[in-house]
Amino acid sequence: MRMKSLLPLALLGAIAVATTARADLVIKITQGVSQPTPIAVVPFAWKGGGSAPVNVANVIGSDLARSGLFAALPVSKMLARPSSGDDVNFTNWKAVNVNDLVVGAVSPASAGGAVRMRFQLFNVYTQKQLLGYQLPVHDGNLRFAAHNAADMIYQKLTGRRGAFATRVAYIRHVKSTGHGRWELIVSDSDGADAQVVVKAPDLLMSPAWSPDGSRIAYVEFENHESHIYVQNVQTGQRKLVLSHPGVNGAPAFSPDGHRLAVALSTDPGNTDIYVLNLVSGKLRQLTHASAIDTEPAWMPDGKSLIFTSDRGGSPQLYRMPARSGADPQRITWNGTYNARASVSPDGKSVALVHRDNGSLRIAVLDLATGNIRELTNGPSDLSPSFAPNGAMVLYTTSAGGNRVLATVSVDGRVREQLSGGAGALSQPAWGPFPQGLAATPSGGGQ
């Protein structure tokens, strides 16, 4: 009896659902806003005595903001400062109009234990935890742990791998007695934690990362002779790989790390592209033009090389097969000066120096269309280098009468100078993703 009376109702319900499904009001959203996602990174609680050695929240917020995709809420605007999800009142964060919220805490090394960092990411509107991690801080490098957290947050919210916990290499020229000194420096991607890797009384040039980030190739002048070295970043051991008479320049590791493309010449006015096999030591000449062919850059598949050449009268980018070097094809047709290629990780675009109206700017060439899109305003922006996630480009620019490092997001929306200490900075190279960094989920809002 009861079943009987319920059955029609159930059927009715099914019909109603079906009807609703058909008659759903559909509203099409064809636009969104193009603005940084507002995020609040609440200062992390410091579980130790005194004050925290690193403002982790600030590192994370700065990283995210530098990407151009996030706007970090200033601490002064926060209505509360929870350090755990349990303490979060989402109304406070809706009130300040942020989409996402990061809270966390750092525990100092306990007896025999490492420093630990815990953080949680919440969506303010769904009130759901998106991330919850407890990270061991290697070597007490809390700053790098913060970059790692930023990467995780970035990846969670953008779908793209973050590249904050990466290192960059660049040359610093410090003016002192004589013509000063040169340093090859490796720092965090935000310019912090700068470490001098090579010091030289003479010119240092063209640092280039090996694909695994363990080695850096660079050019060092000794007695006015240029030499190409490959140096282990960790150990500092270096190896001279090329020391031909004349010019030895512009080294670039192949994607497999076994070869080095270089520009060589006995005549500075007629460099050519060569590929040196680092295993066999064999050198193969790829270009033979009576022009300056230099600044080789590998395509991610390692099958072709893009380089700068003035064979057409002005410096332009050309592309040729990495194996034979046959028949290079010009790929830049817009502007009188396009040089210093840095190929994006996906191989779809090339960052370059583009001269426009006498102003040197960082631009991105779309390899499929040939379109060149300027990212910076100049007037003297040089040496672009793609971040390993392709989201930003590192370059040098002039600021306050000095040469500094800067990053620009690939949409050109956010440009930010990096802290880099004194001296003229040049020729930055953004290193690869770190290898095998571990992070363990903390299992929720602990």
Binding site: V26, I27, I29, G32, S34, Y125, G159
Partner: protein
Amino acid sequence: MIGAALREGVHGARANAGPLTLAVLLHVVVGAVLVLSSGVNAANPQDMPGPGEQHQPIQAVVVKNSDYQAAQASIRKAHQARQQQVERLKHQAAQARKERERTQHELDELRKKKESAASEAAQQQKKVQSQKQQLNDLNAQAQQVAHKRQQVQDELKKLKQQAAEAEKQRAAEQAHLKKVRQQTEQAKKAAAQARKEQMQQQMATEQHQQLDKARGNWVAAIRQKVTRSWIRPPDAPSGLDCKVKITQSPDGHVEGAAMQACNGDQAVQQSIITAVYKASPLPTPDDPDVFSRVIVFEFAPDQS
């Protein structure tokens, strides 16, 4: 009395003698008569008295003695006989004349009769002719009349036909008229119905339009708020198409959101879910009838 006898004698003579005898006799008589008449002034046939008159001269002659008397008596007797003969002849002649006259008369009569007959016949003929003529005329008239009648009949027939035709036509027209009237009626009815329906429809349409307008305004307001709430990730693939189904409270608070189909990654989906929650409370419609608890948002930035 004598006349009667003469007449009788002639008759007898004629009856007793042959025709030749009669003819000779007649001549003799006639000669005698002529002789006598010279002396006696023979009576002019024209002056012959009628049957009642007496001839006097004969009585004036007188005869003497017995011989004489006897002669006389014989002469007298002969005379008397001749007299009688003459008388008889006279009588006979008179008779003949009379006969001739009678014959003539009869002839005349006959002629007259004939003439009369002829005349009569002519008259008859004429009459017949006339009658014939009349007949002809009559015939002609009759013919004419017949013709006329025919004509009239024809005319009549024609008129009848025309009348029939007219009747037919009238009937047809009537039928047509009826049909037209019916059609008109139907059309009127249909028009009225249509008008009614149109009015209903118009009312419905107006209601619809009002509802549509209200819905349109509402949808536009929601779309605007959601659009402003959605920060499109830069890595969102081109051709992004994501449907998120939300339920809202009557005051527009988003109570739940579920991604239905999406070709974007988790970050894109997160951005969309965030957008619909961030847009909460959604604008409410002016007309509660258009409100829908369930809304499907289709995020398709590359479609327009």
